[in-house]
Symmetry: C2
Subunit: 240 residues, 2 copies
């Protein structure tokens, strides 16, 4: 009954590891993309037959997601996608802002003309792919470009643990893609691009503290937008 095989089961990391990690990645992707809405029940048998596997890997995958804080597992009542309160979003983005700020400080030491060029290109891509996909489901191209900008700085910073910490915070709740908010509001999108430009300028000037504060402001701003989004959508949960 291979109704819907794992999206990335064989091709990308087929050599890699067990079915469990693929299963976890598949479930996480569907939650982050919004395909599985927040607040919805995650029934093991459903997920199992959806992914074409047994319950065992699904259970272990759910444990991984639980450890990450994305889902919540109640005693014997199953797992639900955590529906974050707006203040939780603000808390998380305060943490992320600090971490991304540190990223900039470290990146200043290792910045090169090539890196600056790549950053500007990524930012241009964010601008270019404006009205990309409808705000429906799946990750939009503008999201990917936005992630690319930040990920590039993480790489340049050269602290794997730091990048991981940011990733952990980001994956703690779905729709982390603030780009989803950006799509709806062109005004916010412009602000976002301008903030990126200011960060690049500070990095180019090798002004670590300015880069840090610009990045912190940028992330806090994005967090505020996302928190507002959650406030509005707070009613639309439980199998919208």
């Amino acid at each position: 009954m291979d109704t819907a095989p794992l999206p990335d089961a064989d091709s990308p990391a087929g050599k890699g590891k067990a079915l469990v990690d693929d299963t976890a990645a598949a479930i996480r992707a569907r939650i982050l993309s919004g395909e599985i809405p927040i607040g919805s029940q995650l029934r093991q048998v459903e997920l199992a037959e959806l992914l074409g596997v047994s319950r065992t890997p699904v259970r272990e995958a759910l444990r991984q997601l639980q450890a990450g804080g994305l889902i919540e597992v109640l005693p014997n009542r199953g797992a639900v996608v955590r529906v974050p309160a707006p203040w939780e979003v603000r808390e998380a983005y305060e943490v992320r802002a600090e971490l991304e700020g540190l990223t900039c400080v470290r990146a200043v030491r290792a910045v090169t003309p090539d890196v600056l060029r790549e950053l500007r290109e990524a930012n241009e891509t964010v601008r270019t792919v404006s009205g990309g996909s409808p705000a429906g489901e799946g990750s939009s191209p503008s999201t990917a470009a936005n992630d690319c900008f930040h990920t590039l700085i993480h790489t340049v910073a050269g602290n794997r643990r730091l990048a991981r910490a940011i990733k952990d915070v980001n994956e703690a709740f779905p729709r982390n893609v603030s780009a989803l908010v950006l799509q709806d509001n062109p005004r916010h999108r412009e602000d976002n691009i301008r903030e990126h430009e200011r960060i690049v300028e500070a990095l180019a000037a090798e002004d670590a503290e300015r880069a840090r504060s610009e990045m912190k402001a940028h992330v806090i701003s994005a967090g505020e937008q996302l928190a507002r989004w959650y406030e509005q959508r707070s009613a639309t949960v439980f199998r919208g």
Copy 2:
């Protein structure tokens, strides 16, 4: 065959949740305390009969620990306790320093005379329980007192997500208890206490930035000591 029941299976969080989380906590505790040395193989059957449960909860618990980064699960070769390289320790403590620094900034806004008194008491406890337990196994009382100092600041800061991020970093590798290093070296212990005092002073003066920098220096210092410990002990792995 209830040879060695779960240390905290029934009494503390008996109401809480499934066997899995207790199992994960038990394994994590034994790794962090050093009872299970770094680099050692974690065989599922051994853990199962050690904790008096079946293999199933052990497997799920291992997944949780894998998600936390404490252990590494190879394809079909089982799980091993990760042996962190010294540079990984330094990276992690750079992240932790930033986060704990932010904790101080936030704590300044909410600090009260009571809190300052409790912090000083905790620090005195660190000093008092000097030659507590032999550096053998199990968590020492000085470790607990040290944790208490930091945890108290986390609580006052009032950002759960921030506290969680610090906890995640801290539990990423064993012997996180820098107190273990402190025990061996009275000189480091004195430095540690003095750094704590400076942090309390800055908090009392409501000088957020000074509290931040003092805390960052304190954590970086502790990380450096722990990294050196790992450098020396790098040979003593694999079932010491």
